[in-house]
């Protein structure tokens, strides 16, 4: 840990919002209300693919208590224009159609209309009275099916990008990506062993426990107030502005406390609808999704196919690697196939790499970011294949990875060359761990896998204010999704040299602080942290000016140390140090309030690497997997608040375990989701798991004053293959299709042991 080097960084104080969160006082999305508010509800398509021929809302509008109905006609159409959102890109033309279907309903659950009424019961009754005439079209759910020549086409205008010459016919393949490094054919010629496999994964949901919720109030003068549970209230503002043609500054979005997001709350679903309903009704409108709606119409992360081929020398040196990845985008283009491709071989220093990716639309909800979007899927394929290679070469799986590990100076297949990274250190830490050094318990088998994520910087603003008594407020604009208030306050306290308890972090609405990009990409502690540090430095600069004024010396003659202004040397003069409280008390006489500000586009987010070790047992009769022991090691840069860093590793690992074992979107023959609830969408429960041990490997990021690397996303990348590799070593059977659910695993075991199956 970084203790010793720092006073506050690396310590584990209580989070500033702790009491609010354990008493029920904290207000989340659905906890906001306004006098006279209406309840908004969405009418959703029951069909996976259908032309909307007409919508007749007259009967709904005639129902007493119904104050407004909206459908696509209430939203201006948008140009074919791509804008960034979180780690994903969205097309405005598509996003308005995702918020409210226009020509066609493209998935079951696609919004078709919405109502605002005095009560929930009236709103629900009104939905039943809206008559929608559909012409049901053939649908396609599966990626491989959607790529077929004769597949039902979702968008007649969709011509595959990235293919030369450009296709003349529309298809469901929105884009092809190619990454090349070296000479792939020559590389495979050098190989003494080649392993090739085809892998699949199913769509999974982010699974945040808090459903989407918003409260909109549109005033008659055009000003809009909006409360939203979101990872990015500035994005909500931006989307509402674009989609509703409202000037951005007319919209003020206040982020509520957010009950989980994992990438799924970086886009808008309800907010533009609520604003439109509020405009039309003249009343505040509150909208909350049901869990069923969350599953059917928000999120999910894509499923897809990954074809991997790796060639190596007998000594384990990987000489060539190739993979082809096709990911579900959902109903509109924009799967995370890019990151899936770029991360695929990023852990390794391989001279010859070829990666091809396809972004494929089908009749599913539009995918959203989910923790290291795309990376777990390609890692499932690549890390399983690396494990097969280790088995065939009879090498220790960590040694094989060490032999090929990316280091400072390794050029990636997607362009950049790594600066200081900690993959080797992380592998070595995993290898040296008590877990790895001890044998699995009786009946248990062990799997290992690695993972990579870029981490993100981007736009942040922050302000630091000194109060009259010398205590400090730190203002930033990123919803705190997992303890970031604490890490920001720790860095501010460290920088200022004051007690952590004297720093109060506040998350401001869109009108009270400058722009901040989403809470996502593992960027908040890095980028917003940097903005906070810079705002504090700006404030310290001003504090030094005030001390200089007090002493009648030049500001250059003042230093800031241990929370006090001090003379830089004896040549400046003999002065007693001036504390923050003393300077604050005299601020009125030295130039007024003392504040600091910073705004930046953070560059140099340090990439992170993880290595996970899992011991598990497979019940060969039932296919049930029991996880016995789990360790997650990761290069975390500097652990600002180690408890929350550990928490990221633990939570990410468990999401990955769920993805590996049981989570999946299951569709019926009509293209309707069959398991839209927590009962049958099986996320891990407490009794499914052991403790998750963590190893924090601190290789500071040279591009951050405290060495911060993002930590939130890496930990979901390795677990899929770590679990799969352990299952393969336990059963002797290499499963390539996720999830490794009991029926699937049992069938594979029976297929491999015919005598048992015949029993």
């Amino acid at each position: 840990m970084s203790k010793g080097k720092y006073k506050w960084i690396g310590t584990r104080p209580d989070r500033p919002d702790g009491a609010d969160k354990v008493t029920g006082r904290a207000r989340f999305g659905a906890d906001f209300n306004m006098p006279g508010q209406l309840v908004g509800k969405v009418l959703r398509s029951p069909h996976a693919h259908a032309v909307i021929k007409s919508i007749d809302a007259s009967a709904a509008l005639a129902l007493p208590g119904v104050k407004a109905v909206v459908s696509a006609v209430d939203f201006p159409d948008q140009p074919n224009l791509i804008v960034p959102t979180g780690e994903m890109q969205v097309n405005l033309r598509d996003i308005t159609r995702n918020v409210m279907a226009r020509e066609k309903a493209l998935y079951e659950g696609h919004p078709v209309a919405a109502v605002a009424a005095t009560t929930e019961a009236v709103a629900k009754a009104a939905l039943d009275l809206i008559k929608v005439e559909y012409e049901v079209l053939p649908h396609v759910i599966d990626v491989a099916d959607a790529m077929k020549e004769d597949a039902p086409i979702l968008h007649d205008h969709l011509i595959t990008e990235g293919v030369k010459p450009a296709p003349t016919k529309p298809s469901n393949i929105a884009k092809r990506i190619d990454n090349l490094k070296g000479d792939i054919e020559a590389g495979f010629k050098q190989a003494e062993i080649v392993v090739e496999r085809h892998y699949t994964t199913q769509a999974v949901h982010q699974g945040y426990i808090e459903p989407h919720a918003t409260l909109a109030s549109a005033a008659e003068d055009g000003q809009i107030q909006l409360w939203s549970t979101t990872q990015g209230h500035f994005q909500v503002r931006g989307f509402c502005s674009r989609l509703l043609n409202i000037e951005t500054s007319q919209i003020r979005v206040t982020p509520t406390e957010i009950g989980g997001g994992f990438g799924g709350k970086t886009v808008v679903y309800l907010e533009p609808i609520a604003v439109r309903l509020s405009q039309k009704s003249g009343k505040p409108v509150k909208m909350v999704m049901s869990r069923d709606e969350v599953f059917r119409a928000s999120g999910p992360a894509p499923g897809g196919t990954v074809h991997v081929k790796i060639g190596a020398k007998r000594d384990g040196t990987i000489v060539a690697a190739e993979c082809t990845i096709a990911l579900q985008a959902g109903a509109f283009p924009g799967s995370p196939v890019g990151p899936a491709c770029w991360t695929s071989f990023a852990c390794y220093d391989i001279p010859n790499i070829k990666v091809v990716g396809y972004d494929v639309v089908s009749n599913r909800p539009k995918v959203a970011a989910y923790r290291a979007p795309g990376a777990p899927i390609s890692a499932w394929g690549v890390e399983s294949t690396v494990d097969i290679l280790a088995q065939e070469l009879r090498m220790d799986p960590i040694d094989l990875r060490l032999k090929n590990a990316a280091k400072k100076g390794t050029k990636t297949s997607y362009g950049p060359t790594f600066d200081t990274i900690g993959f080797v250190e992380t592998l070595e830490a995993a290898k040296a761990s008590e877990h790895y050094k001890s044998k699995p318990r009786a009946g248990m088998s062990r799997g290992v896998a690695a993972g990579f994520w870029f981490n993100v910087g981007a736009d942040s603003s922050a302000a630091a204010h000194v109060a009259e008594d010398g205590t400090v407020t730190i203002i930033s604009g990123n919803p705190d999704i997992g303890g970031s208030r604490a890490s920001l306050a720790l860095m501010a306290a460290e920088e200022l040299g004051v007690d952590y308890s004297k720093v109060r972090p506040v998350i401001a609405d869109t009108s009270s602080i400058g722009f901040n990009f989403v809470t996502g990409g593992s960027r908040v502690t890095f980028a917003t942290g940097l903005a906070v540090v810079n705002s504090v430095r700006d404030m310290i600069r001003e504090l030094k000016v005030r001390a200089a004024k007090t002493w009648g010396v030049d500001p250059d003659g003042v230093i800031w140390e241990d929370g006090c202004a001090k003379p830089a040397g004896s040549n400046v003069g003999e002065f007693e140090p001036l504390s923050l409280a003393q300077l604050a008390a005299t601020a009125g006489r030295t130039g007024g309030p003392i504040n600091g500000h910073a705004q930046l586009n953070a560059q140099g987010a340090g990439p992170g690497f993880g290595v996970h070790i899992v011991d598990l047992a497979v019940d060969r009769d039932t296919g049930i997997v029991t996880v016995d022991r789990y360790t997650a090691a990761q290069d975390v840069g500097t652990a600002i608040h180690p408890s929350y860093v550990e928490g990221q590793l633990q939570g990410g690992a468990v999401q990955g375990v769920g993805w590996a074992l049981n989570e999946e979107y299951i569709y019926g023959s009509k293209g309707r989701l069959d398991n839209a609830g927590f009962l049958d969408y099986r996320m891990p429960v407490a009794s499914d798991l052991p403790m998750i041990e963590t190893i924090l490997v601190e290789v500071p990021n040279p591009h951050h004053p405290y060495g911060v690397r993002g930590v939130g996303e890496v930990p979901i990348v390795p677990p899929l293959a770590a679990v799969g590799n352990a299952v393969a070593r336990s059963t002797g059977i290499r499963l390539t299709d996720l999830p490794l659910s009991p029926p699937r695993l049992s069938a594979a075991i029976d297929a491999a042991t015919p005598r048992m199956a015949a029993e």
Binding site: R12, D14, R15, D17, G18, A19, D20, K21, V22, T23, G24, R25, A26, R27, F28, A30, D31, Q206, G207, Y208, I209, E210, P211, E257, I258, G259, G260, G261, F262, V288, S290, R291, I481, G482, G483, H641, S643, Y644, E646, G647, Q650, G651, G652, A653, V654, Q655, G677, F678, L679, M683, P684, V685, A686, S687, L689, M691, I692
Partner: protein, 160 residues
């Protein structure tokens, strides 16, 4: 149809409210009584975020009709701290970082308190199975289980 008048006790306070027969206890707590600490994550009893105590019994308030509160004793997360004093579980959850986003936290605290009232010396396995009805997507449960075990140990120590 006329609403039903219900007289009950919530967090020790005599409370009256009017409700429809179709309303759940969770709806009344949140929408009528302003007790929004109980959360709705699913509305089907699968996530535990709405956990409350009904006559000393742990239940999901989304699966209870509000009319059933008549003459009963209801306890919610809002009644867990006493004045300025957090319950030991509340303190430990903060100290151990047993929450990230915090949406599931009220439900976990209510359920954990119910566990310790019934079993002051639970094994890790018992804690995990008791809390299996509370979903947390952030923490992987590790720090939650540790916090509950630690509070149990401290409470046993104090009781000696």
């Amino acid at each position: 149809m006329a609403k039903t008048h219900v007289t009950t006790t919530i967090n020790g306070e005599p409370t009256e409210f009017l409700c429809d027969a179709s309303q759940t206890m969770l709806d009344v707590l949140r929408d009528q009584l302003g007790l929004t600490g109980s959360k709705e994550g699913c509305g089907s009893g699968d996530c535990g975020a709405c956990s409350i105590m009904l006559d000393d019994r742990l239940i999901c308030s989304c699966l209870m009709l509000a009319v059933e509160a008549e003459g009963k004793k209801v306890e919610t997360i809002e009644g867990m701290a006493h004045g300025e004093q957090l319950h030991p579980l509340q303190k430990k959850f903060v100290e151990f970082a047993a929450l990230q986003c915090g949406i599931c936290t009220p439900g976990f605290l209510v359920a954990s308190k119910a566990l310790l009232a019934k079993n002051p010396n639970p094994t890790e396995t018992e804690v995990r199975f008791w809390l299996a009805g509370n979903l947390c997507r952030c923490t992987g449960y590790d720090k939650i289980v540790r916090a509950v075990m630690e509070v149990a140990a401290e409470m046993r120590e104090t009781a000696r």
